[in-house]
Amino acid sequence: MFFAAFDLPTASPSAGLSWPDVALSFFAIVLEGTPFLLLGAIVSGLVDVFLPAGLIKDWLPRSKIHGMFTALGTGVILPLCECGALPIVQRLIRKGVPPSVAATYMLAAPALNPLAMFSTFLAFRNQDPWLMVVLRFAFSLVVLVFLGLWMVRLRPDQMLRAETLVGLTKKNQELSPNPDLIQIPRPGWSLGGLQQFTGAVIRDFTGVLLFLVIGAAVAALFSTGFNRNLLAPIGQNLILGPLAGILLAQLLCLCSSTDAFIIAAFAPFSVSAKIAFLVAGPLIDLKLYWLYRSAFPARFVHGLWIRALAATFLLTLLYAFRS
């Protein structure tokens, strides 16, 4: 049996910040995310050129609520990381998928990801792994249903940035998220098709990359400069523990397949604090906030942020009181 521990007995809370380390962390986050973002942009370009808008509409359930539950299921069986999901989600919205359904998939893909559940099991192998996996999945699902039910009530103009809503749709009505779509012949395999594909990939890639750069800068700053031991004294507290877990998730901005390994080693946190960390982190954090801003307006993202964190806090608080 292998055991490793992260220890450093003399860590002082006033350690400060190393700017070269921020540069290293920033560089690492953007290099890690860029291949997935590019993959997402390429898939988005292929969808743009080859997939008729009507087809997606035919696939989707007629009711938005059914669509929302379909998106949750798709999040489990078609996992995607956050960076890769964003260009595809924006393209699907322009192809006529209701924004609430597309956004539910965007949130569900990293949060309900089987890989995230598997890594949670591995990370907590010596600390009641099934409990952690079941709580993570169940709480994530409850929060996602709550967020989905909120989003289906919103109008597209409340959820989308002006340019996603109308910017590129003035010339081409098919790009409109308006449900009354007009089908236009796809260029398919032709020079025009390649031209449209290249243009779409580059626009989607650079459009989201800008927000990845901003998000990575913020994430690098906090994941490098924030002293994790500052939260240790409140990690076991019934009420403050889950809050500390949520706060740490917001600051560290870890991917959902990695976060369990980091928090499993964090002995000062109670189970509810760790679950709060694992549920809130994949839904939104300081990096995801900026990535979401590439598609959605600030007002919507702020609403999503508050609701996601409040729901996570309430659930983990209930669990803390029960156990």
Partner: protein, 255 residues
């Protein structure tokens, strides 16, 4: 004149940004700096992305359709320019400024206080267990090559700890001096340097000749000990020799 300049920027900027990113990525791979940044599985993805970005830059220059990209309005020109600069400058600057190892400052921020108890990291099982078995069965008269994490693994098992205490060991790591005590540190990386966590063993005396910033690689030979403080074992090396050494090919330990 300004309109023409804006149109030129609109045309060239995407190709410039994507080729810059592709070149930075290829340079990071070619120089080996990528080993300090990403875990082995993700490195090949960066290589593929770099090549694709260069291909996309060329396709953009040949196939660009001005009609698909509306010229920004007068008020949007600055935003347009700043957007391309944000895409271009930070990544180039970070590739130049990023150091070879995370410093002691970040070590203190990312480390967890061991007095609260060490939690086993089960995911890192098989490989390290092999190391430990090999170390236990090695020739007791020769220093055994071990990793910092092997000593921590041993410290979690009373039987193995007892069998190994007093053995001569040889190991490499980054030297860190803080608050009058010295440690030998190895960083463990899951995906990238942003999620790297430090793992350390104590050295028996303050190695004041070492650098303070935690970026100096050293090879330490000495005797492994497992002293217990308030019921918590912190592995320690009683140092015989300590000398600067080359950075290992893989500076981070992977799970």
């Amino acid at each position: 004149m300004i309109d023409r300049l804006t149109r030129q920027i609109t045309f060239f900027a995407p190709a410039a940004v994507m080729s810059a990113w592709g070149t930075v990525m290829l340079h990071t791979i070619a120089s080996g700096h990528i080993n300090r940044i990403l875990s082995p599985t993700l490195r090949s993805y960066v290589l593929v992305a770099a090549v694709l970005l260069l291909v996309l830059s060329a396709l953009h220059l040949f196939l660009y359709d001005p009609a698909s990209d509306p010229t920004p309005s007068a008020s949007g020109r600055w935003r347009h320019l700043i957007r391309w600069l944000v895409l271009l400058l930070p990544v180039v600057a970070a590739s130049i400024l990023s150091p070879s190892a995370l410093s002691s400052t970040t070590l203190a921020n990312r480390a967890l206080d061991s007095t609260t108890g060490a939690i086993p990291m089960a995911s890192m099982g098989a490989a390290n267990n092999q190391n430990v078995q090999a170390a236990l069965s090695a020739d007791p008269n020769q220093p055994v090559p071990v990793e910092v994490t092997d000593l921590i693994t041993l410290s979690q098992s009373p039987e193995q700890m007892k069998a190994f205490a007093g053995r001569k060991v040889r190991t490499v790591g980054l030297i860190s001096n803080q608050d009058g005590s010295s440690k030998l540190v190895r960083w463990i990386m899951w995906c990238c340097a942003a999620d790297a966590q430090p793992s350390s063993v104590a050295l028996d005396n303050d190695i004041s000749s070492g650098t303070k910033d935690g970026t100096q690689w050293v090879e330490v030979t000495g005797t492994a000990q497992f002293p217990s403080t308030l019921g918590h074992v912190v592995p320690k090396i009683e140092v015989d020799t300590i000398k600067p050494t080359q950075e290992p090919d893989e500076p981070y330990l992977s799970p």
